[in-house]
Symmetry: D2
Subunit: 281 residues, 4 copies
């Protein structure tokens, strides 16, 4: 019998950095967490314990800070590309590098109607993300939104579905629909106006979600994806992962009361999970 | 030897409710989590297994939904008072009731410049809280803010501190100051314009944090508390619990680079924790 | 109007340490997280930004490692006492110190029937805890168990309880009873065979839980506390905080099936919470 | 421009069940969380809002409980297979089903030297997992271990590694090595003595970890995988995902003290992450 080392990778996760860009009028804040993964020729390390081709993950961490010192990590897509380029150039043992960045968003504190120049508050739990996958011949850039919690209190139905012996769910033409949007999209090339694109995609997703006459989570997912691909030509493909954050109607009839579709129990588990990719043909 | 049942309480935690108030022009969303604790004469249950004075915690949960059916759980201070009043009136075995509510905040989705009437997104990780402690003779109302993450990139120093044999921290006149504000304050009576007060306290805390020339977390905590008590006469006392979310300057000199107070590592642990109560005299 | 600084404290939380005691035959592993809080004369720091009486929380962290270098942090009660003594002796500005330690438990890896001398695995999610509160005249030592998840599948009832208009819970003589035991007890003095006591208390709690004919969580809580106080004379007082980790019977009759008290849905929220202190009289 | 629905799936996550098997002498406890995902012909739901081929995720949840009523969900591999078979047989619109089960492990409470027949405690944070992927022609069964936290305090080195301009990590022949083992392996067919296999793989991993003279995480990963594939013929492939839970040596020289490789700070972030698959050739 033989044993073979198949797919393998290693790297550093959760390298956190806050970078303050100190402008003349105001400071700018960048708050990111970086993950780096190397793929390549690491058989000797695994099989013989020979570390000569292993760049320590501690060095990957140091590199994040060192490259940030050359200029702001902004936008995250460019910083991830820069990191992947640095690693590929300096490490012939690599076949590919994957750099993922998650950005926490901050906003200036508003006092009266004026933004304070050096004080900030977190702008929600929503995150901006990117993943750059670089080989010697190709750079693939994906960006995304994560943890964007939204809810519709009208225009959401779920009926006409398949039934079997274990189906007890009542049909409804009026339910709450809540989800935590996780969306990732692929850029056509390795250049794009990333900030503008991200903001447009986010706006498009929110507007599509809000306006949609939803027959199901699937139906709304598709509507959001279609709207993004129609509006944003720099994007070829978009993927959604949408938990159905169920809000169950409370049965008040047990107390002789009526629930006019107003009182719900949100439950975290179990939850539906709907995932799909839309692609330009 | 004898054994005595001393302080004891029981109740239901994390009773979640989403309530949709369906107005003519737009819906309003209330998303809360309720905790209820009873104190009173429960010796027989503990010692003899006699449950005749035990109202099930399941009933407490049902009561949240039943009372919400009488009218919106808004503001949370009034709903918590209503719940506590209901339980005290119907349960002679009770000495006191504590009702805590945590409210998740939502905002309408903005499309163009128009707020969508029935679609919402979460307004950050920040929470509005209340705790009502009711006895037969008294109602005490505390309200609060939780999970409000803020950062100053200027006007924060920490020097002139006490040193001992194990002190290695360098003094600084320019550091980052980040914290997650948890503040709770006590209202003078059981009536107040709770929504307006909460918004004012929040604004006051944010402005004081932003403008302060900080010599320490303690110094900024006091400045925030003083500003609130000065502005908001309905409040007698305010308490802060402020973790120091350290952002450590990265030493780039190891790579022959300079860090002009721009590149930091945020760390979650260990962290400072500064707590204090300010009271009107 | 005047404003007064009332109760206040500051310190360092989550100071983590792994200490390896390298014995002749085998290594011993201590994995702890320390929290330290100072109370005392800190008005000048809050009000004037004068840090001369503020020992940095970074120094508290360093002190944990420096004192551990003098000898193993074992048992945690003694190490917490040592820390509190050090801080009180060296800091006249202090009125009291609170040192909390949480210990993660590890066990040697068993190969065949032999314990490996230098390899370990975590012994569950259960934690051992202590809190030492020291003033100039007194040392109070509390110890505890946390995150000890237990379940009874027999000998648990809940009936004969109080009913009101919103009570829908069915009575039962046979339900599942699950909880996550959090217990803390106070030692009579500042010396005790802490390791032996902790193990005895843990065993006593588990045995009492297992054997009890439970009429409610309150009933079982009291039985566990009584058993501990009866057996362990070094302890004066014990407090429990017991969430009721509900396991709800699944209604299979909707599918024409019978559920013979065998199939349950565990739910995390909402949950009951039962708390009580038992004291020796 | 055209848009195409590409890869898509939907289902229910975190369907929790506790099943008590009431034996003559003792009860047995099964505590699982099930996730189900359907892939198939769902274009109409996405594009037209036509739900006729959509079995509600609520029905998937009900099916878990209904099938458990036919017999114990034990071992989880068989129960996952049964679920996948049920869904494929009854739903012609499906191309494939993925059923994942995570099992929380419990152990009887030991009183004296006797196991209590109806009282249990959680057996650590470690989990047993399975994923069954079923198509009309194939059944693929993967099983695994998750959250198994282990540490070596000897026989772990990391030196001779690649260095670049940003490398500052010192070489070491004696460090702590801690990781949280996540391993998943693929069974050759759809039948195997799953319980025995799982226990053997777990033992083999632990023994290999304990005994290995480690030159890196990669080196130990490979040793563990090789040991499993050598011992367990029913398994064709095994994959590990191993975070390097760094324990950093504390620099005590700043206080004039020596650290004889005894005092460490464990840090959660950043962390190394090493992943690899070993396959039988």
């Amino acid at each position: 019998m033989g044993i073979r080392l198949s797919a393998n990778n290693y790297g550093k996760s959760r390298v956190r950095m806050v970078q303050v860009v100190r402008g003349r009028e105001r400071n700018h804040l960048k708050d990111i967490s970086v993950g780096i993964q190397f793929s390549g020729d690491f058989d000797a390390a695994h099989i013989k314990g020979d570390n000569r081709k292993i760049l320590p993950t501690d060095t990957m961490k140091n590199t994040v800070y060192a490259l940030a010192a050359e200029g702001p990590a902004d936008p995250i897509e460019d910083f991830a590309s820069k990191l992947s380029h640095h690693f590929l150039c300096n490490n012939p043992q690599l076949a590919s590098v994957r750099v993922e960045i998650t950005e926490n968003l901050w906003t200036s504190i508003l006092i009266g109607k004026k933004l304070h120049p050096t004080s900030f508050m977190r702008a929600g739990q929503e995150k901006r993300t990117t993943a750059v996958i670089a080989t010697r011949s190709q750079l693939r850039i994906e960006s995304g939104i994560d943890d964007l919690l939204v809810m519709k209190t009208a225009d959401s139905a779920f009926d006409g579905f398949l039934r079997d012996a274990f189906t007890t769910l009542p049909e409804t033409r009026d339910r709450l629909l809540a989800t935590v949007v996780k969306a990732t999209w692929r850029y056509r090339g390795d250049r794009a106006p990333f900030d503008a694109c991200w903001n447009q995609v986010r706006e498009t997703i929110l507007a599509a979600f809000a306006r949609h006459k939803s027959e199901s989570v699937q139906h709304t997912l598709y509507a959001m994806g279609e709207a993004v691909l129609k509006r944003q030509k720099a994007i070829d493909e978009i993927r959604f992962s949408l938990p159905n954050k169920h809000c169950l109607l409370v049965d008040l009839s047990r107390f002789g009361l009526t629930n006019n579709n107003e009182i719900f129990v949100p439950v975290d588990e179990p939850h539906g999970l709907i995932e799909a990719t839309l692609r330009r043909t």
